[in-house]
């Protein structure tokens, strides 16, 4: 088995987690647990780790949960609102104090590390290039400089990046902030991905053998699907949408007209084949998918993840989805891991079920959710 990006994981002080430890990870991991135990937070931590603390990812995950509340430009510049929003990244949220700062750590395997610290910085003009660099307020000799709120990101490569929170929150600036050495990682939220992402992902695999994997995924639901393409909508943005050729019909049929399940299956398969040598993160994977198609979906995910060396992390609270995962996992030795996440007296606790334990749970009728 090719080595995995992550064989274990430890999280400190990030979002829901005061401390979370997962001692062993598989190639295809299904995270299960009740609401509010932190399934989405776990996916976010993995994504942030893979992207090595990318400011774009930070903004995305906060925006996705409506945690960036101030959008007007002048409000964005104020320290107090910035702090109220950025502290959602850290355990305890409201309890995080402005003067004390906070750090979150994500430790992967023996060597992987990502830490994010919120702190005070001042701008210092850089000599060589245009722009400025950020110096910790404590170390700054120039105490007349404006005190600004920022994040310091440290990674395993001992790279140290500092970003102003106002830049992170500013969509027109975030993409200018650099994040390097990241693993390919794709996050598929419960609601699916944007049209722009669909277009980019399709262009990433068009006319390669990976198209076949996506078509095969669609055939799990609709065996009549023969071909797949993105076709122009002729709107002002020149958007393209997925359409298929069906066996007994000569012409394009919009994928969305074939039902919600088709869209979800398409999204999952497309993201999967674009995540080669990287990570795929899927929240509420079963969304819109009838239980009868889920075992075959998992079989496909196991096979493709193995072939393209993708490490998959999906979250669900659906019993059918777990049963389907167990079925497929039992056919793929040492690849699948069911991770139960729960909150016991304020502590996050994980319980792992590998193939042996999943097999026992299924056979002996033991509830794992």
């Amino acid at each position: 088995m090719t080595s995995l990006i992550l064989d274990s994981l430890e999280i400190h002080n990030f979002r829901t987690f005061h401390h979370l430890q997962i001692e062993r990870l598989g190639r295809v991991n299904l995270i299960v647990g009740k609401n509010n135990v932190g399934k989405t937070s776990l996916l976010e931590a993995l994504w942030l780790y893979a992207k090595q603390g990318s400011p774009e990812v930070i903004r995305y995950i906060l925006e996705k949960r409506n945690e960036i509340k101030r959008t007007a430009a002048d409000e964005r510049r104020q320290i107090q609102p910035q702090f109220s929003d950025i502290r959602h990244l850290f355990y305890g949220r409201e309890a995080v104090e402005m003067r004390s700062g906070a750090s979150a750590h994500i430790v992967a395997g023996h060597t992987g590390l990502l830490s994010i610290t919120v702190d005070w910085f001042v701008r210092q003009a850089a000599r060589s290039q245009s722009g400025y660099k950020l110096v910790p307020y404590q170390e700054s000799s120039n105490i007349t400089s404006e005190k600004m709120l920022g994040l310091e990101i440290n990674t395993e490569s001992q790279r140290k990046d500092r970003f102003l929170v106002e830049d992170i929150f500013n969509p027109s600036r975030t993409h200018l902030l650099e994040a390097e050495d990241a693993y390919p990682a794709i996050f598929v939220p419960a609601s699916g991905i944007t049209r722009t992402e669909v277009e980019a992902f399709w262009d990433g695999i068009a006319l390669t053998d990976r198209e076949k994997d996506v078509i095969e995924a669609l055939q799990i639901i609709a065996p009549a699907v023969e071909r797949l393409n993105l076709i122009g909508l002729h709107d002002s943005q020149g958007s393209r949408i997925p359409a298929v050729k069906l066996k007994h019909y000569d012409g394009p049929v919009n994928l969305s007209s074939l039902g919600e399940g088709m869209n979800r299956m398409f999204t999952i398969a497309l993201a999967l084949v674009n995540a080669g040598a990287g990570m795929l993160l899927i929240d509420e994977i079963e969304n819109g998918l009838h239980y009868t198609v889920q075992p075959d979906m998992w079989r496909l995910i196991f096979a493709v993840a193995h072939r393209l060396n993708v490490q998959v992390f999906a979250a669900t609270h659906s019993w059918d989805c777990i049963a389907a995962f167990q079925q497929a996992a039992n056919e793929h030795a040492e690849e699948g891991m069911l991770i139960r996440l729960e909150n016991r007296d304020g502590d996050s606790v994980t319980t792992l079920f590998d193939e042996r334990r999943m097999g026992i749970a299924a056979r002996e009728d033991i509830e794992v959710r």
Partner: protein
Amino acid sequence: MADRNILLVEGKDDEHVFKSLLMHHQVPEVFRIKNKDGVNNLLETLDVEIDRSGLERLGIVVDADTDLDARWQSLHDRLRMSGYPNVPAVPDLSGTIIEHPGRPKLGIWLMPDNAASGMLEDFVGYLVRQGDLLWDLAEVSLQQIPEAERRFPETHWIKARVYTWLAWQEEPGKPMGQAITATYFDANASQAQQLITWLNRLFDLTP
């Protein structure tokens, strides 16, 4: 609804004996008895049973069989692996109870009495009333079988004795559980009381 309280037993006979005793002693039905179809399966799947979602209390009833120490050691090792560092070196005579923070409460009963080697039938044998003539006659009959004609292994002697005795009751051949309900056996015998006391402690019931 998740099962919060479970009692794992080796087989059908254990299940029925427990059900009859529980009914007789009017123990509230706050736990489910799960037949694990054999001691090997019970032991091999124990780590997963302990990690059952929402489990709060788990009882384990297994036969000591011929080697009580070995049986205890195998439970001991498995439970340590499942996150119980505090398993005692020897079983508690009144039935072992183990509590560890963040883990379900565990109870272990080694048939017949947490001290002797043996099995369920030894325990049921304790429930025969003092001075029962047929109980002695059953033993005598077994001893009269010429060695060459005896078809059961020596280790199953007590089984043969219990079933012989059951064959001679008012309604011959009643299974053990039903024979308890029919009061052929004495469900108030002290060994039965001890078992019920252990169950009450394990499942936090007030008798």
